[in-house]
């Protein structure tokens, strides 16, 4: 009997040790990973790599990345927010709503390369756009749409029932209650979802491989939106940071440049994710009544 207890105690101590070990190992691995990418990338860079030049620099790609994600959010945010409002406020339980949920889940689990192929087929082959920033941005919109929809739905459903009831009690219509009471109350939460979606868009490469192409020749100061070298033109090919890393590894082997691009991309994504995380914690604290 004593032996069994002793054995159980020993096993318990051993397993506790193993769990600490696993946790410490991965913690160290993750820190080493980011440290290596960020510090290694920035240390190996030369100043001209930060320039906005056609080759050997990351400036144009960085601009393309941000611009592309911005355009994609312009499309996916309104669509996603309204779809979320529909699911949270108007949808009646039934076959249609269930099917809509299945569709959202399907969209969110699509491999990004499949979305890229779909974008290539629809925007390039059928609509004849040519490899362009817009085609890539719309593909990214498909990827981020489900995320924004579910965040909006969760945000509205997470509000206390009193918000909606008070609105209705004042004689408002459903829409008035949504627009004047519910949406303002959950905008911070929806913003968190949008930031996360942006983070996902920054790093996306497979969906852009066949939709945006690899052009990076921009003429700064050329603000004519129809010209192929204008930074603002959405119908020009646009190489993003992630595609740049991919191209550098397949074609030339300018490792220092790819390292720097990885570092900047990782910084951008971490910044957005940490921002979203900190913000949602802040909101939670505020809503739970502590001083924020």
């Amino acid at each position: 009997m004593d032996k069994r207890i002793q054995r159980a105690r020993r096993a318990d101590r051993a397993m506790t040790g193993i769990f600490y070990g696993i946790a410490a190992f991965f913690f160290a691995l993750l820190l080493a990973f980011t440290g290596k990418v960020i510090i290694g990338g920035l240390m190996g860079a030369s100043p001209e790599m930060f320039a906005f030049a056609r080759q050997g620099a990351i400036g144009n790609q960085l601009f393309n990345t941000v611009y592309l994600v911005f355009i994609s959010l312009l499309v996916s945010v309104p669509l996603g927010v309204f779809a979320g409002i529909y699911l949270a406020m108007y949808a009646k339980p039934g076959l249609f709503t269930r099917f809509l949920r299945i569709c959202i889940e399907t969209l969110s689990s699509l491999p990004s390369i499949v979305v890229g192929l779909f974008g290539y087929l629809v925007f390039l082959v059928f609509m004849g756009m040519g490899k362009s920033l817009l085609a890539g941005a719309l593909s990214i919109s498909i990827l981020t749409l489900p995320l924004i929809t579910t965040t909006t739905e969760d945000a509205i459903k997470g509000l206390p029932a009193g918000y909606f009831q008070a609105g209705m009690g004042m004689g408002s219509t459903r829409w008035q209650a949504i627009f004047h009471v519910l949406l303002p109350a959950c905008i911070p939460r929806i913003m968190t979802g949008v930031i996360l979606a942006a983070g996902r868009g920054f790093g996306e490469a497979a969906a852009l491989l066949y939709t945006t192409g690899s052009g990076s020749s921009l003429r700064w100061g050329n603000w004519d939106i129809t010209s192929p070298t204008s930074p603002l033109n959405v119908l020009r090919p646009a190489e993003t940071l992630s595609i740049q890393i991919w191209n550098l590894q397949t074609n030339a082997q300018d490792a220092a440049l790819a390292n720097l691009a990885s570092a900047v991309l990782l910084l951008l994504v971490l910044l957005f994710n940490i921002g979203a995380n900190a913000w949602s914690r802040h909101i939670n604290r505020k809503n739970s009544g502590e001083k924020a």
Partner: protein, 307 residues
């Protein structure tokens, strides 16, 4: 009562409601259109070029002709095997570690886990896959070449490790949620009977959280299965069935990523690639169904029914 304001009020209500319904419809239409396009494009291999389903899934002869005449061989077994092997290896590596981390941050060091470990893990879920691929290529591949003394470091092993690191955060955070959802009374009952913490974890907590943990593993698997670029950077891209974990091979996604740009529109090669994309789509549907199955099972268990 001012009837005109009321009219405007209700007019707006119907208009905005209409827009919300339209957006819902749009999401459904989008999904259906994606599915329809994939089926339409992917079925050419079988209908137009006359390959059998059995040949596509079970043959390793991959010589599709890059023209509309057809007549080549379109066996995708190499890529299917490649995908299965790399994802299986990634799961084998990632699951024990992810489970260990999830247990650590919920059962063993809950305060530190909730405040610090989980945010870090979740932030890492967002790291772009090309960055993983690039680090895999510049660090892991030379490492494997030197340590195992191979001619090339590109291998299934490298792809498995890269994917494992990629899906580790997903499995960890979903499993941790499942473990947190186990009622505290279960733990207290176990401690009350004199169990040690490890006995409680092994005999009570993990079985109770099993459906959620399996959902997490499937989610991770789905992410690994759909990953294209990170894998292509480190897997070496040779069209041959793998012989060991040091072999170079291709997966469904890497073949699509590397060939789609060169293939001729309407040709046999392109159709075969579309069929592979259709296969990816069907597999992701399968994963969703599995997750639903396990979530329902978990619910039944929590309600005390037979599960």
């Amino acid at each position: 009562m001012n009837t005109t304001t009321q009219k405007g009020m209700f007019g707006k209500e119907y208009a905005w409601r209409g827009i919300a319904v339209l957006c819902g419809l749009f999401v459904i239409a989008l999904t259906l259109v994606i599915g329809a396009f994939l089926i339409y494009k992917g079925s050419d291999t079988f209908l137009k070029f006359g390959h059998t389903l059995w040949e596509f899934l079970g043959s390793a002869k991959w010589h599709p002709v890059d023209s509309a005449e057809g007549g080549g061989a379109a066996g995708a077994l190499i890529f299917i095997t490649g995908s299965l092997v790399t994802c299986g290896l990634a799961l084998l590596i990632a699951t024990p570690f992810a489970l260990g981390s999830a247990i650590f941050m919920t059962e063993i060091s809950a305060r530190f886990g909730e405040k610090f470990y989980r945010p870090v893990v979740e932030i890492f879920a967002g790291i772009p896959s090309v960055v993983y691929g690039w680090v895999g290529l510049t660090v892991l591949v030379p490492f494997i070449r030197n340590v195992f003394d191979r001619q090339v470091g590109h291998s299934i092993l490298a792809a498995g490790i890269v994917l494992a690191v990629m899906i580790f955060p997903t499995i960890t955070s979903v499993s941790a949620d499942a473990i947190l959802a186990v009622p505290d009374a279960c733990r207290k009952a176990a401690y009350g009977l004199g169990s040690t913490r490890w006995q409680t974890i092994r005999h009570i907590v993990i079985p109770a959280a099993a459906p959620g943990i399996i959902s997490g593993i499937i989610l991770g698997l789905a992410r690994a299965f759909g990953e294209a670029l990170a894998v292509s950077m480190v897997i070496g891209q040779t069209t041959a069935l793998p012989k060991s974990i040091f072999s170079t091979t291709k997966t469904l996604t890497t073949e699509i990523a590397s060939q789609m740009g060169n293939a001729m529109e309407g040709g046999e090669l392109k159709s075969a690639l579309w069929s592979m994309a259709l296969l990816l789509f069907l597999v992701s549907l399968l994963f969703i169904t599995l997750i639903h199955y396990f979530t329902n099972k978990g619910k039944a268990k929590a309600e005390g029914g037979k599960a």
